[in-house]
Symmetry: C2
Subunit: 362 residues, 2 copies
């Protein structure tokens, strides 16, 4: 087939996909334009190796002598659309979650993985070291099936169990909740900010410059990743949970809440300054109280949002470029802790797209 | 855009992809035709729920009282190409592995996930219950980073550590071995044939009829899945490891090896007969000795291949349709325990495609 015909077809279909993305997303799955991928695949990045002393005896394979163990790598699954934009997006899950965070939503719509592919971005989904497919940990773990989902229902601000928040952007059928709870997977080793940021930094080393999306617990090590690796060209952080970093001498007073006390973390000024050199967009959703409450789940987010604002101000005072969007303040209501998979996730994606366009990252 | 133009473009590009698949696979990644996907996404299927007694107190969220725990589901990531064939393929990993088994090969080529998408099959990748993204187990587990990779190097018949088998279909650079070892992830609960086959059966309940590909440890519960669910329309089993099922009174004598003793498992005749009603293709690779050896890794496969042949005969004697292909016997040499990701995986995919065509499953 002559190449120009193929290119024209690619262009026509890509344009269709783009228009579909803007005009007809998720209204009728059957009518969505095809996804056109140039390439997809997966790899491990980073990690460490342990070796048992001695010499391996192939007749005694169950003995560790002379054997190795590779662990603490990140795992990434990637897709590159035809005619991809300049920078890919690396999407990093939060606590108790894995790459699924960015895939199909609990109520069965397209998540950010596919939405941003349709918007012509390369997309890399991460399982951080010691989570999901990146399960080989250099340290031991003991896993117990502890009932904890009502905690998460509240902590993720879907409602106050068993009630949903009024107007919440989360479908209220039992099957959605079933899928939501089954999107969790445990740590297979202790959570370690340095280990996970090393793993994601190694992903950037492999793929080159890109845009980092973080969710929740991924927020803190996300800042560290940008400090460690200047291939992180921007960060979009969805409800970063804690571990905001400040330069020595500028750490704000701890903020107590009914859940815990939120503390800033200290980094040397030279590291902190790395965060002033990239555009950063931070989102928080709805149902975060202004005033203290004795419900730990909601109160924890009051304290985190407050610390996030102090952090935004600190970075910007040093010449940074952080925007913090508390969605209700711009009239977008009902978002949970997962704005990227909430029912209005196309509206959220539009805000992200606009940010990336404004910063000339698209 | 007028729909006929779009359809023509889809057809043209799909044809290109097909031709590329046949003629130009993996010779130059930059020249591969685009993948055209109608849809992609992920979901959990099956599983159980535990509940702690008592009433949940939102002010004491760390206490289990009144909380639930969803676990033991399977996780599936799927992609449906444009103009997909009748049946999708459900790909199920083996021991110590996860969905990555079918993705990019350790040396960076396209795995069966993408190869069969290019051949216009819908593809579902499974993480079985208690593995990878399906990590929430209903039972406890204790994970230890035990050095064991030289065992796997031998067990997976890449060679006899530290030597590679002569002519092995596995790239011998260190980076490939690094990726290979990092494709492992631990069980997050005890391996249980019933639990994992229930999970995969639930995937079939959700998606409807399909073709099951199994690898290694997935082989045994693969037979159980076909017994449990008649939506399994065919099985292609790559080096099924053990747990071959026989009807009562027809179980062959155990086969001892330097690794373990391979035993047939008993199922009622009515269940066994389910396996006679679908076409089944079984592959074994190279470097499986004919005669006993004191190297446990290779000897284990001698015993397994022997049991597999007895099983093939038993199913076929009851009217079944099992083909067992020991690759060296048809002149295909050097395959490891992972024929679907070996260097000649396109040749293996061609054998699978021919089988599916012959059985009118395409």
């Amino acid at each position: 087939m002559p190449s120009p015909v193929k290119q024209l077809c690619s262009l026509v279909l890509a344009t269709t996909a783009l228009l579909a993305g803007i005009n007809a997303f998720a209204t009728d799955r059957g009518k969505l334009a095809p996804l056109m991928l140039q390439e997809q695949g997966s790899f491990a990045a980073g990690g460490n190796v342990a070796s048992a002393p001695g010499i391996f005896d192939p007749r005694k394979p169950m003995e560790p002598a002379g054997q190795t163990y590779h662990g603490d790598h990140a795992y990434a699954f990637y897709q590159i659309p035809v005619d991809a934009r300049k920078y890919p997006i690396i999407m990093w899950h939060g606590a108790g979650q894995f790459s699924k965070t960015w895939e199909t939503t609990a109520d069965g719509r397209e998540g950010f993985q596919t939405l941003f592919l349709r918007r012509q971005y390369g997309v890399y989904l991460i399982d951080q070291p010691r989570r999901g497919g990146a399960g080989r940990s250099m340290l031991e773990a003991s896993l117990k099936p502890a009932p904890d989902e009502q905690l998460w229902f509240n902590q993720f601000r879907i409602g106050l169990w068993p009630n949903y928040f009024k107007g919440v952007q989360f479908a209220q059928d039992p099957q959605t909740l079933n899928q939501f709870f089954r999107a969790m997977t445990p740590n297979t080793g202790p959570f370690d900010m340095d280990v996970v940021s090393d793993g994601v930094s190694a992903v950037f080393d492999r793929i080159g410059p890109g845009i980092l999306f973080t969710h929740s617990q991924g927020g803190g090590p996300g800042w560290l990743t940008a400090i460690k690796n200047d291939k992180v060209k921007a960060i979009v952080a969805f409800e970063p949970g804690s571990s905001f970093v400040f330069p020595q001498g500028e750490v704000p007073a701890p903020i107590p809440s009914a859940f815990d006390t939120v503390q800033g973390a200290v980094v040397p000024m030279s590291q902190f300054m790395a965060l002033t050199r990239i555009p950063i967009l931070v989102f928080y959703g709805d149902n975060i109280p202004d005033q203290p409450t004795d419900f730990p789940a909601q109160d924890s987010w009051r304290a985190r949002l407050q610390m996030a604002r102090l952090w935004r101000d600190a970075v910007n005072q040093h010449g940074g470029n952080v925007s913090l969007v508390h969605l209700p303040e711009i009239g977008i209501r009902g978002n949970t802790h997962f704005p990227m998979s909430d029912r209005n996730n196309i509206q959220i994606a539009d805000l992200v797209s606009r940010f990336l366009a404004e910063k000339q990252l698209d």
